[in-house]
Amino acid sequence: MARDDVKTGYKLIGTRPNRPDGLDKVTGRARYGADFSLPGMLHAAVVRSPHAHARIVKIDASKALALDGVKAVVTRADLPTGLTGEDLNLQDNTLAGDTALYDGHAVAAVAASSALLAQDAARLIEVTYEVLPHVTDVDAAMAPGAPVIREGVADYSVPEGMHGNVARYMEFGHGDVEAGFAAADIVRAQTYRTEATHQGYIEPHACVGQMGEDGRGEMWVCTQGHWYIRRMCAAVLGIEAANLRVTPSEIGGGFGGKTTIFMEPLSLALSKKAGGRPVKLVMSRSEVLRATGPTASASMDVKLGMKTDGTITAGQVYFRMQGGAFRGMSPIGEALPCAFACYDIPALKHEAVEVIANRPKAAAYRAPGSPMAAFAVESLVDEMCRELKLDPIAVRLKNGATNGSKSSYGPVYNVIGLKETLEAAKAHPNYAIPLGPNQGRGVASGFWFNHGGETSVTLAVGEDGTATVMIGTPDIGGSRASIGLMVAETLGIPYENVRVNVVETGALGVNEPTHGSRATFASGKAAVEAARQAIAEMCRRAAADWGIDADAVEWKDGAAHPAGPNAGKHPPMTIGEIGSKMGSTGGPISGHHEVTAEGVGASFGTHVVDVEVDPETGRTTVLRYLVVQDAGTAIHPAYVEGQYQGGAAQGIGWALNEEYVYGADGRLQNPVFLDYRIPVASDLPMIDTVIIEVPNPGHPYGVRGVGETGITPPLPAVASAIAGATGARIRSLPCSPPKVLAAIKAART
C-alpha cells in the first residue's frame, strides 16, 4: 500500500514521473564505466597474489615487456613513498608493498594494445613469493598462538595485553547493566556470527585513465563519489588533486563498494608510463569478489535481561569484526551504536574489537555494521519473546525508541518514526495470515543514521525558462528524478522543464559520495536552496522592471507577482520571460549552495517475513515479505519502494545464501556468481512495501534517506521465521540448507 492517500499539499512531490535516464537505460545507450573509449587507448590487466599471505621476493616483468604491443608495466616501485595513515592503506591496497596480504592482492599491472594481449602479458610477469602463515577467521585471528600478520597495527584505542592482530577497540554505555540484569526475570546470552558478503553490484569496476608527463590527468570511472576518487588517486600517485579531473559514468550498482578506489590509480600510472596514452582497466567478476571491498565478518556476543511483561532491563554486546588486512575497515564504529538504536533501554554496555585478517580491504556495504548488529540483537530479542510467549511487535512497541528518547549511543532522538512502522506492520493483512505446517513468521526492526556531508549544487536558469541543476552525487537509484521534483516544486514549473546533471570534479565544489543515504537528502536540500537563491534574483529582476521594491515581489507558480500594495498592478512575469531577458537585465541567473549538510533524520524500518522450510532438504522458501519504513517524505514513491525492495532482497540473500568461503589455504573458494549465490528472480516473492511518512524537520521537504535501513531487518527476521518454522534457531549466517538441516537435527536431540 503506497502513500498516495497521505496529503501533503505538494503539486509534484509524491508523484511518479518517468526518471530522466530511463530512456537511455532501456535502449542500451547509457554509458557505464566500461562503455567509454578514447583514441589510442590501451588495455590493462593486473597481476594478483595467489597466496593469502606472502613476502614478495622478486617481480620480473622482462618477458612481458618483450611482447609486441605491451607498452608499460607498473609495480610498487613506481609509486611515491612517504604516505601514512589511510592514504598508505589505499596505496598498499592498490599495489602490494613488500607483502601480499590476501588472495587477490594486486602486485603489478600491465598495459597493452588489446585486452587479450594484456592478459597474456600479465601471465608472463614472474613473481617470486615466500609464503607466510595466514589467518582468515575473525575469532581465529585473535586466538592465542594466531600469527600476527602485520606489526604495529593497533591504534591509540587498543588497551595493553590484546592480541597483535587487534587494530581498534571501542567501549561505551550508560547505566548499571549488572543491576539491570539482576532486575530481569530472564537473562539470556548467545553468540551470533555473520560471514563476509559482497555488495554484488552487477557492473564490475571499470575506468579509463589518462595522464601525461606533466602529471595532469583525466579519468572516466563508475563510482559513487568522484571527488573521493580524485583525492585518493592523487594521494596514492603523489599528484595534486586539481591536476586530475574525474568524470563519473552511469553506475551499475555500488551499495558502498564503489565509494573508494581499488585499481583506478593503476590506469593513470600505466598511462603516464605509456607516454600518455589512455588506459582502460576493467575488473573481471572474480577480481571483484577477491579483491574489492566485501563487508566484514563478525562474531557477536549478546546478553539481554527481560521481564515477563517484555520490558528489557539491560543489554550488553561484545562484537568482534574483521575488515581485511587493514586497520579501520570494519564497521565496529557503526555496528555498536546501531545495536540497540531501536530501543530505549536504561542500562547498556557496548564493546567491540576490530581484528585484521588475510582478507581483502573491506568497504562499506549498505548500512555498514547495522545488519550484523541487528542479526545479533534482534535474534536474541526474538528468542526471548518466543520463550516468554510474547508478541514480537508488542515487545518492540513497549521498549521502542521514540521522539525525545535518548538513543543507545548518546544523542536524543528528535522526530522519528519507529513506532509508526511497528503499528503499520501489526495492522497489515500479512501479519494476520494463518501459517501452515513447516511455516514460520519473523519480525525485526532496523535503523540507519543517514548522513548529510559536503554538498555543492549549482542551478542555472535557461533563456527559455527551464532550469539546469548541476549536482555532484552520482545517481544510483533515481535521485535525479527526486531532485528534479524538488526543484520543480520549489520553482513552480513543470518537472519536464528541470534537467538534473551529475557533473565532473572540475565543474563544482567538493561533494561527498552518494553513500550514507544522503543524495536525495543533501543534494536535494542544496538544490532547493540554490533554487531559492535563483528565485530571489528573479524577483529582483521583475521588481526592477516594474520599478517597485524587491521585497514587494513574491514567487508563485513559476512567476514573479507584485505583492503588498502593488498587488495586481502588473501582470505576473514568468520564469520564461525573465530568462529570455536576463542578458540585458543584469546577466545570467543562477543559484548555488555549498554546505556540510546537517539536519539529518534517521530512518527506522520494521519487516515481517513468512517462510516455509522443507524439512527434507533444508531449503527455505520466502512466501511473503513486508517492508515498512519511514521515508520522512517520499519525493518519488516508486524509487522509495525500489530502495525498500532492493535492500530486502540483499538482506534475504545474506540471510539465506551468501557467504565468503575461504579454504584452509586462505584462498577465496567462491569468486564467481555460480557459487557466490545472490537471489535470483525465482527465489523471491513480490515484496510488499508500506511507506511511512514522519517528515524530517531538518529538510525543507521532510526527506529522510531511505537507501540503507532496508538491508538490516531481513537478517534477523529470516532467521526468526526459520526458527518459527522448524523450532531450530540458527545463529550463524547464512541459513543455507545444510545448516538448516543440521539445526533441525540438533533441535530434535
Binding site: P159, E171, T259, P411, G516, T596
Partner: protein, 81 residues
C-alpha cells in the same frame, strides 16, 4: 561549562573521567580545548569524530555552537554505504 561525555574506552586518556567540563562556544573550540587539557585524546580527535550537542548530531562542523550548559557526546565518525 559544557559537559562532554567521553565513551568508555576514551576515559583512560582523561584520568578515568566519564564527563569532562570544557569552556567553549563552538564545536571546534570544544575539541581544541579537550585536546589541550588531555593530550591523550589527540589521536581520537584526529581520527575523526562526530559530536552530538544537546541531542543533535553534528557530523562535521567546527563552527556549530556550543552553549555554556550544553550536553555533548563524542561519537565515532559515521560512514555510509
Amino acid at each position: 561549562m559544557a559537559r562532554v561525555h567521553l565513551w568508555a574506552s576514551l576515559r583512560r586518556f582523561a584520568e578515568g573521567q566519564e564527563v569532562v567540563e570544557v569552556d567553549a562556544a563552538t564545536v571546534g573550540q570544544m575539541l581544541d580545548a579537550l585536546e589541550r587539557a588531555h593530550p591523550g585524546l589527540g589521536p581520537a580527535i584526529k581520527a575523526g569524530l562526530s559530536v552530538a550537542v544537546d541531542g543533535e548530531v553534528i557530523a562535521n562542523n567546527r563552527s556549530a555552537p556550543v552553549k555554556p550548559d550544553s550536553e555533548v557526546f563524542l561519537l565515532q565518525r559515521l560512514k555510509g554505504g
